[in-house]
Every structure is written in structure tokens, then in C-alpha cells.
Symmetry: C2
Subunit: 132 residues, 2 copies
Amino acid sequence: MTSTDGSGPRPTKQRLAVLEALASVDDFRSAQEVHEILSSSGSPVGLATVYRTLQLYADQGDVDVLRREDGEAIYRRCSETHHHHLVCRSCGATVEVEGPAVERWTTSMAAEHGFTAVSHTLEIFGTCAACS
Amino acid sequence: MTSTDGSGPRPTKQRLAVLEALASVDDFRSAQEVHEILSSSGSPVGLATVYRTLQLYADQGDVDVLRREDGEAIYRRCSETHHHHLVCRSCGATVEVEGPAVERWTTSMAAEHGFTAVSHTLEIFGTCAACS
DNA sequence: GGCCGTTTGACAACCATTCTCAACTCTGAT
DNA sequence: ATCAGAGTTGAGAATGGTTGTCAAACGGCC
């Protein structure tokens, strides 16, 4: 796994390009979309590499992953603290929100039922002020 | 289509079989799993039909749909009141939980940012006591 | 019984994602 | 600089869930 051996993953050209592409938009994008962005911006990166890179950074917590309603995975570069998203159904605008109370609630709820290794997903969808 | 024309979908043998299969387990099951349950219980139903049926009832709100972490859609016959799920990653055991505080939090958070027509998803995944 | 719209099921098509593997690229040591 | 070896890449194939196709089967209804 090469997890904590000091060397860590190499910041290659391709990986930086993927991060940069994600940074250049501030919405959630699918791997396919990131791949297109890269192709049309003159620094094409193989699709498999895009997937690997997104997964890599997602595992490290450097990008957030969530699922569209049709199941496609979408990625976004986010702040490091744990948070959730308020997403506009119409234009895709995203607001990061924090809810310590929610974190506490999920944790205690899980503990109460004997669950361990707990993770949770919480997303809020709606229509933003500009779109309504 | 055929939404409110009085006739509605026909309660065919296959559709009832799908609902029954879902009722016979009280976990979330994927379409593929439902298909297997039906096959091995002596009332085989085509895979495409299982998908269509689950979608049909999901649209009607008779079954809940959510996504596993790998994106696969899973279905369950649920109580009608709004609630969330605590799901075991390993065996699929499910606990329905309610959290009025969470409902209030999401609502106020959305309002604060001018979002309307709000919905939300909240699922907790973990390893249950029996599986850990 | 026969007509007609609905439903079914076997199979192909789709599409996101992962796998394979040979070629390539860093990094560190000689 | 050169070499070796581990890490990384990319093209294409393989995988697997899901949806589309379409002819055959079914269920009411006259």
C-alpha cells in the first residue's frame, strides 16, 4: 500500500493537471467530464489515469466524492474539514455547510445500535434563490 | 405517462412477486439480488422486469431507493414516514432511524441560503455488532 | 372467442468504471 | 551520466449494472 512510508504518491504532471482541472471549476464533475476538460485544454490525460487519480485523492480526503441520482460518481476539490453540501438541482451551485450537531447525532445513533467503522452521507438538494 | 388516469399499473403476478420478495427480507436489496431471490423461490421473473418493477414502485414512493457506496442501486419496502437508514456494509442489516433535529437543521440551513423545494438524503454506513 | 393495449423476457446495447500489461518516467545509487 | 527498480501511464479489453428492443404472452372487455 505504500501508505505511510514517507515517499507517498508522486506529484506527476498528470496528477497536477487533474487537480488543476478540478480547481478551475467549482462544481462537482464526473471523471468523464474531468477527462474532457483536460483533453480540450491541451493536456490530455488517459481516462484510466483520471479515474485512478480521482480515487487516489478521494482516499486521501483531498477531493470529495458523491453520487448523482443516476449513480455516476462526481468529484470536487473541497476544504479539508468534514462538511456537507447544499446543491442546486437546477444550476448545480454548491454551498458547503457544516453541522456539528449532525455529526454527533450520526455517531451516537450508530453507537447506540452497535455499529462501528461508521461513515455517513448527507446531501441537501433544492432550488437556489437565483433559479427559483 | 399513465400517471393519474384511474386505471394505474396492473398488479400482475410478476409485480406482486417482486413486492413479496422485497417484503420477505427487511434489508435493502439490489435488483440483481431480488432477481435471484425470485429465481430460487420458484417464481422466476425476468431481470428487465425486476428493474422496471422496482423503478415503477420507487416512482410511486412504495419502495425506497438508495445507493451503495459503489453506486449500485438498492431497494427496500419501507414505512411511509420520513426516516433515514443505518446500514451494515457487510450483511446489509438495516435500522430505520428518525432524527427530528436533523430535519430541522437541513430545513433551516437551506432557508438560510435561499434554497427552496428542498429534499435531502442521509444514510449511515457501518459494521453492525454481529459482523464486527 | 377475438381484439387491443399492457406487460413480459431473452438478449443486445450502453456506459461508467476497472483491469491488464507493456512502455515510460522518475529517483536514488553507483 | 548511467543503471536498476519501483511507481506511473495509457490504449484497449473486460466487467457489470442498467436500459432498450421487440416479438410473444397476457388480461380485460366487447
